[in-house]
Subunit: 442 residues, 2 copies
């Protein structure tokens, strides 16, 4: 019954996102701005639910992980230590005639060294740093340069000692963070798949050296299962081991979780890296402040190894939308629906009076009022009930509550399930409990 | 019994925040970076709870407001239209000798025109823009300049038409947003009271012109009550009307909600402005895209007026901490506690085995496991039970669950209330329900 993976095209996806208020082009009235996107009324709810689901699984339900929310702008010396100032760069060439700039690996024929736009001569490749630069304070000079973080991870590493001291955690333990990161990609693209402003969910999990390989494997399994728990179909997920020559400078081993995107094939949705002691050691060296851990059993100060599961909220958002999209035939008509897990659905319950009859409306509004403090709801009284069900199906609303003329007599309403389309009659007095049972909260 | 308002000093506050993991100086190991702060394990929970409380009251529970999450970096033409490029600036002077830069209104004697540092001559005042500047794309030139948003509001205005089309809302209705904003303050200070990177919660509420004054007053009342609902004491809040000469360029009338900060006296925690049709009209003019509303009753296209309640999460965070801080004398000893509303408390329940006895620990861990999926919890088995209660009091944990030797016999635990310190015995089988009743979720 479900649409097979890959059925939804990028065009359908972008159109659905815009038409229903999931994602808009940023500053669209001004022609947009490349690589930046805004989340609309439904998008912000879905995005917040994804973040809550991750936080609940990663922080709240675990005994060994605490949260953090560090600033986007950090002391720039942190980026010297992390290696980002020196190595987070793409090679670029400039055209000596038209002054346009190109990424070397995107030139049609890199060897010919001729501008693809005007035929002019190209410069030697130079490294172009992907960090957005700004200036802090009233003077724009070298001393005031700062960067928008290209990853949230470093905010965790520099706070290692603060968190250790205030929480009294013992190894192994982790610090989790959700927040914006920025990369000045030369060629952003594929909708929100590669954007310049995005949101990361990163966990830095600190372990005793020597236990790192085992913990790495445990986190690979753990994170793979988390994607399944979101409702993503197993056949659309796989693991990919980084080859030696693509490993980051800090990594001993990295495994990506990939999703089979209809427009790009299997592509990264999460990376799980063994960052070794690289970051803590570098920050200790560059700051002169020891970021070590006193290991009681051995009586020694050690620098922990770090396992890092790192993912982007925006790419997860895409994955969830694509994977839950389904088309069915119902009584000869096409039905489009999103089989979102109810925890992720932007709207949990829609309240639908059968018609705009003056007796039905006040009753329906009272039902709505009853539910609003507990669930994200919508009220819809426009057009036929069938069309309203379809509108809710399309945005993944798990339950519709219909108020009809019988309600005025028996005080009961019809609860309709999105996936099975089964309807059941529930007294308004027991409605809240009935819905709570079907809609676990995050 | 409560400490009177103003009892907590800034020094105590900063020290408590650092010691217990609420707020750390950003990049502290590198000597920090002025005006940037990181939220620690407890701080991130409190901050998230404040955001949820606002979202619930402003979006979820209302019938007339939807959410949005726009990008931090927008097309720079939006800032030309909004007036920020031309007017969001402070007057500054440079010293011709030592090259230092000063804000004119902070010079000890602005008339003397002599550098307070070296005695050199000062330049004429020039306007210094408070927006952080960056460059999007591979070339750093005038055409690629972009800004970090100094307010979230403009992301709402430029999406007015997108939201209207996708939600089919009728006036009056609002669009709410939570997100980071950045201001390159010349003199950040007072901890997180005035920082350069902060988080806003803004509502733009669109109304028919002519109904704006009435709606303005309704929102002033609504927002004042929201602060009371957070648990802030009425005597520490007041309203202040902006005088004609301090009104922003877009505002017809602005009223601030102020809080009596111990270190600064009554200071702004929220501004409620009547922005008129300034923003929508300017964006229509500058973009050439009509941001109007078709009013069915009159058959006319109109530009709505906007009422804007705008507040900062970080300042709210401070207010909540200060206002809930209390010192009591209990049996001759000082008890420090935070009387946080349970919805805001970073930790909802602490599970405390009476001792580290090998029979108690597994039982206590099972109780912890039972509660973790439902509440943010802590487990603490270090030091005496009295000290552990005090530690939880100090971070505002509403309930402690103690597992003692009797538990092994009767299957019941002791639930202790933070404020009354009353204890009651609850069977583990009914614990979840008992706690749920005392801890309403957001």
């Amino acid at each position: 019954m479900n649409a097979p993976a890959g059925k939804m095209t990028m065009e359908q996806l972008v159109s659905l996102c815009k038409r229903r208020g999931f994602v808009f082009q940023s500053s669209e009235v001004y022609g947009g701005i490349g690589g930046f996107w805004d989340y609309g009324p439904l998008g912000v709810e879905l995005k917040n639910n994804i973040k809550r689901a991750w936080w609940k699984a990663t922080v709240q339900e675990r005994t060994d992980v605490v949260g953090l929310d560090a600033a986007i702008i950090m002391n720039p010396r942190a980026w010297k230590a992390s290696g980002h100032i020196d190595t987070f760069a793409d090679p670029m060439v400039d055209c000596r005639s038209c002054k346009r700039r190109f990424r070397t690996d995107e030139l049609p024929s890199p060897e010919s060294r001729v501008c693809p736009e005007c035929g002019g001569a190209l410069t030697e490749p130079r490294m172009f740093n992907l960090m957005f630069k700004t200036f802090v304070g009233p003077v724009e000079d070298e001393a005031s340069v700062a960067y928008l973080r290209p990853e949230t991870a470093q905010g965790i590493f520099v706070n290692f000692d603060n968190v250790l001291t205030t929480t009294r955690k013992k190894l192994p333990f982790g610090i989790a963070q959700i927040g914006k990161a920025f990369r000045n990609e030369i060629t952003p693209g594929n909708f929100i798949f590669r954007d310049r402003e995005f949101e990361q969910m990163e966990l830095e999990y600190f372990v005793l050296p020597g236990t790192d390989e085992e913990w790495h494997q445990r986190w690979i399994d753990e994170r793979f299962n988390w994607w399944l728990s979101l409702g993503i179909r197993r056949e659309n997920l796989h693991l990919r081991e980084h080859s030696a020559d693509e490993l980051s400078h800090y990594s001993k081993r990295t495994v990506d979780i990939e999703y089979d995107f209809p427009f790009a094939g299997f592509s990264e949705i999460e990376g799980i890296a063994n960052r070794t002691d690289f970051d803590l050691a570098r920050h200790s060296e560059f700051s002169g402040r020891s970021l070590s851990y006193f290991d009681e059993p051995s009586g020694e100060h050690i620098t922990p190894y770090v396992i890092e599961p790192s993912m982007g909220v925006d790419r997860c958002f895409l994955t969830v939308l694509i994977d839950s999209y389904a088309e069915e035939e119902v009584r000869g008509e096409k039905r489009v629906l999103m089989r979102l897990k109810s925890e992720l659905a932007p709207v949990k319950v829609a309240v639908l009076p059968l018609s705009r009859n003056e007796k039905l409306l006040p009753t329906a509004e009272r039902v709505w009022e009853l539910l609003r403090p507990h669930f994200m709801t919508q009220f819809d009284d426009a057009q036929s009930i069938g069309r309203r069900y379809r509108r809710q199906d399309e945005i993944g609303t798990p339950l519709c509550v219909t108020v009809d003329f019988e309600t005025l007599e028996d005080g009961a309403v019809t609860v309709r399930d999105r996936d099975s389309m089964e309807q059941m009659r529930v007294p308004v007095s027991g409605l809240l409990d009935a819905l709570r049972e079907k809609l676990p909260s995050l």
